[in-house]
Subunit: 193 residues, 2 copies
């Protein structure tokens, strides 16, 4: 998505440890008009799939998933981090390693909201090692639901998450794939359309 | 908002400890069509205010804030819980007591995204003791921004948050105010329009 690459080059900042900050428009402050363009693009990319549920994980995926869900006329379900007093005992759980925070946490999802009739599109802001998506895939499998695809805003192509998921046959579409980045340059993988 | 009261009566579940679960449509699974109706109602209620930023706190406020922000043509900024390696050193912080989780946490917001030119509408899913909103008010004050109002989906009117905020002169609008609830009944405060 050309407009996204341009936005990353204009507003993104590279920090030590291969951290790309896009917090001015994507995951701290959110440019809702631009995120609508992202949602439309996900719809275009997955238009032929019978998607009836959008799945993400808190926190920064939620807003993108909600805006995107409008184009699919589907509800969002977001997995929560760690046990909450407010949740049922009847939960799917998976362990996720956070690259950014350098720790392992549990994600949980109420069994009421995912089952064999669901055709799921996973949406998230970033894909690096792919641990969050892998956790969600475990939950989809435990629910007997069907994974229709994974839509990522920014993939760090120099880490293994995307490669591993595609090798598993997952229909993964990333709107921008970063091939390499240094303190002063960001290079993207060329993509069709 | 009549449709919201009806939805709470139909799909909400009361749990011990005055916990109201609305996780089938509001804060775990999210009914995006219905949340659009909520967003439109917030716009109607705050139509006369010069709002240029929607502020919320992760996680369950984010999706509601993003959908609502579309009706204001404004960006969303969400305060984050606890320190993240990904955030700048340059932060506003406030302490928040969580009623649901029974603990104190820090919320943080990058100084880049809130300043004296901002006219802020706070959006959140629940208001009980008002601690999350109070934390956001501290951040707004520290930023020198102007609070235009607070929009809450469900207020627990039998707790003190709403009363305290209104006593401070805050323009607080809650789409449903629960006067009382037991295991089998939920009663709402009557509201104008």
């Amino acid at each position: 998505m050309k407009a996204l690459e341009e936005k990353i080059l204009k507003d993104g900042q590279v920090r030590p440890g291969h951290i790309l900050k896009v917090d001015s428009f994507l995951n701290h402050q959110m440019d809702i008009g631009f995120i609508n363009e992202i949602g439309k693009e996900f719809k275009r990319l997955f238009a032929d799939k019978p998607i009836n549920k959008i799945l993400t994980v808190e926190a920064s995926g939620i807003g993108i998933a909600c805006i995107t869900a409008q184009y699919f006329n589907a509800p969002v379900v977001f997995a929560k981090k760690a046990q909450s007093l407010n949740l049922d005992g009847s939960l799917y759980t998976a362990k996720v390693q956070s690259y950014t925070h350098n720790r392992v946490y549990d994600v949980i999802l109420s069994k009421k909201f995912l089952g064999p009739d669901d055709h799921v599109l996973i949406i998230d802001d970033f894909l690096a090692n792919g641990c969050a998506v892998t956790g969600l895939l475990e939950i989809i499998e435990a629910a007997g639901a069907t994974l229709e695809g994974v839509g990522i805003v920014i993939e760090k192509g120099f880490q293994n998450g995307g490669k591993d998921l595609r090798a598993q046959g997952v229909d993964l579409k990333s709107l921008a794939i970063i091939r390499s980045m240094t303190d002063t340059t960001i290079e993207f993988e060329e993509q069709d359309d």
